[in-house]
């Protein structure tokens, strides 16, 4: 099925998935304790890739609890048993929350259905929370992790004005956001507000503005995101040969 996914995906989607996985992986520092949660195919691929490239000493933490697993293949669910294979120890989600609470979680990847100009995110409700238009799945651990992890990187595979509003309809989580990775750009958080750090190749400033619901201000400082290198592409393919990362785009 995953192979079918890869075969069936358009060139454009495949390029976006590869870029986002590579760009996420670049935020991982060697030696760091790094966590991803549920529904996190892109960070999973990014973490396995980073371990095989610039961050061989990262400690990989996840919800099933396998510390530094060597999965035989990347599962479609990021809570599946493969993330315990080859682990050195088990460290449950409860333990990961505690670790973060005491300031020792290095980096966490967290997704958002909405990410606003302050870098706050929403995975709870679209519309009035008391009578929502859309009940979203909920923020899982994000309300805990975002303010307690040393660094967090958010991502969203859709970049449009609804997904990136001036203010979320509901703030599920707020906190230590280092960066936000989208198919169009990378934001960084400066003085409490998202600022475009780099724009991906082929994306015009006008297209980025049109796709974003909040004022991007001056884009002159923004450079072009360095494209994935051949080495990064090769490492990503080796980490995720079946293209599980594409699942986030279906």
């Amino acid at each position: 099925m995953s192979t079918a996914l890869r075969e069936g995906a358009s060139e454009e989607v495949r390029a976006a998935a590869d870029r986002m996985a590579v760009f996420l992986s670049r935020f991982i520092r060697d030696g760091e304790l790094v966590f991803h949660g549920v529904a996190s195919a892109l960070p999973m691929a990014a973490m396995v890739m980073a371990r095989n490239t610039h961050a061989p000493n990262l400690t990989y933490l996840n919800i099933p609890g396998g510390v530094d697993p060597r999965p035989s293949f990347l599962p479609g669910s990021t809570v599946a048993r493969q993330l315990m294979e080859g682990a050195l120890s088990y460290f449950t989600l409860t333990e990961i929350f505690d670790l973060s609470a005491r300031g020792k979680l290095g980096l966490a990847f967290l997704g958002g259905a909405q990410i606003d100009a302050q870098g706050d995110m929403n995975l709870s409700f679209i519309g009035d929370p008391a009578a929502p238009n859309v009940r979203l799945p909920g923020g899982a651990g994000s309300a805990h992790i975002l303010p307690t992890a040393r660094r967090t990187v958010l991502w969203r595979t859709v970049h449009d004005a609804k997904s990136f509003p001036e203010r979320c309809d509901f703030v599920t989580a707020s906190g230590n956001v280092d960066a936000v990775v989208t198919p169009l750009c990378i934001f960084e958080k400066v003085d409490g507000r998202l600022r475009v750090k780099t724009i991906h190749e082929g994306v015009t400033p006008d297209a980025l503005r049109a796709a974003t619901g909040f004022d991007l201000g001056d884009l002159e400082r923004a450079s072009t995101t360095p494209e994935p290198t051949d080495a990064e592409r090769a490492a990503l393919t080796a980490a995720d040969p079946e293209g599980v990362r594409l699942r986030e785009f279906i």
């Binding site: 099933p64 599962p75 929370p129 805990h144 509901f170």
Partner: protein, 280 residues
């Protein structure tokens, strides 16, 4: 081997309308799927569900109209199938009250009960609307003066856990991720186990450190091979994506849901029969 072993139907009958139930497993892994199907068949109503990350289990009970309230951090089908349709519909229509939690506040509420406390402080939540929306209150820490959120105790009537191995007395071993199952067993008033395999007690004496739930906490043990399907259960089977997809196709209407439940009935009851035969 009689002990606490009973049929799936008998165990499901222990659950009353309106009960607060903690469901073990996480997302689509080691979920008490056969048990929730039986609750749906028995037309339970007004259930309140507790889980960090739910999927098929929470959604199916919502589809069956069995749920009045959820206390969850996440309900969805991840990158496999996205939002949980019946849960979503129930909340949006107002028949299901979604008490918004972070997974960590579900854990804190369970900890409060496990520790015999009315509430449990929790870190994080700064800047989030969750605390105000859900009504988590703060206290001033009596030493530092800082404000700390307290999560009120979550005390399920039952923890419903699908485990890898159990004996007839209720000793339980979990292979693979244990998630919040152990904490749920401590927080709940009582525990109902469904188990892939029923083993002799000697099996547990061999590796007592692997016993996740001691017998004295457990009220009922159901032999339920395949009881987490269509979810996965290490080391026996992985998530069956096609079967999850088939559920999602069927969950849109009462009739198709009934057909879904019927289609699982024989498999769901297979274990209960076996216990008085092969396994004893």
């Amino acid at each position: 081997m009689a002990g606490k072993i009973m049929s799936l139907t008998e165990a499901a009958a222990l659950v009353q309308d309106g009960d607060l139930l903690a469901l073990g497993g996480n997302a689509l892994t080691r979920i008490p799927a056969a048990f929730v199907r039986e609750l749906a068949r028995r037309r339970r109503e007004g259930l309140r569900l507790v889980k960090t990350a739910g999927a098929y289990d929470v959604d199916l009970l919502c589809a069956a109209g069995a749920v009045a309230q959820t206390q969850t951090g996440y309900v969805g089908f991840e990158n496999l199938f996205g939002l949980a349709p019946s849960y979503r519909r129930g909340v949006e229509e107002g028949s299901v009250r979604a008490v918004e939690h972070a997974c960590s506040t579900v854990i804190a509420g369970l900890r409060a009960s496990a520790y015999g406390l009315p509430s449990q402080p929790v870190a994080g939540l700064d800047g989030s609307d969750v605390a105000a929306h859900t009504g988590f209150r703060q206290v001033k820490d009596p030493y530092t003066g800082e404000s700390v959120y307290m999560v009120p105790g979550i005390r399920p009537r039952f923890a419903i856990l699908h485990v890898t191995y159990a004996d007839a007395e209720g000793n339980a071993r979990i292979e693979g991720g244990a998630f919040e199952d152990v904490l749920m067993s401590r927080a709940a008033e009582s525990v109902i186990l469904t188990a892939e395999r029923i083993e002799e007690t000697a099996f547990f004496v061999e590796k007592p450190d692997r016993t996740a739930v001691p017998a004295f906490m457990v009220q009922a043990v159901v032999h339920a091979p395949g009881g987490a399907r269509p979810g996965g259960c290490h080391p026996f089977y992985d998530i069956d994506e096609d079967a999850v997809g088939a559920y999602l196709d069927s969950a849109s209407g009462a009739e198709s849901l009934r057909a879904h439940l019927d289609s699982w009935e024989e498999r769901d009851y297979a274990g209960s029969a076996a216990v008085s035969g092969d396994v004893v």
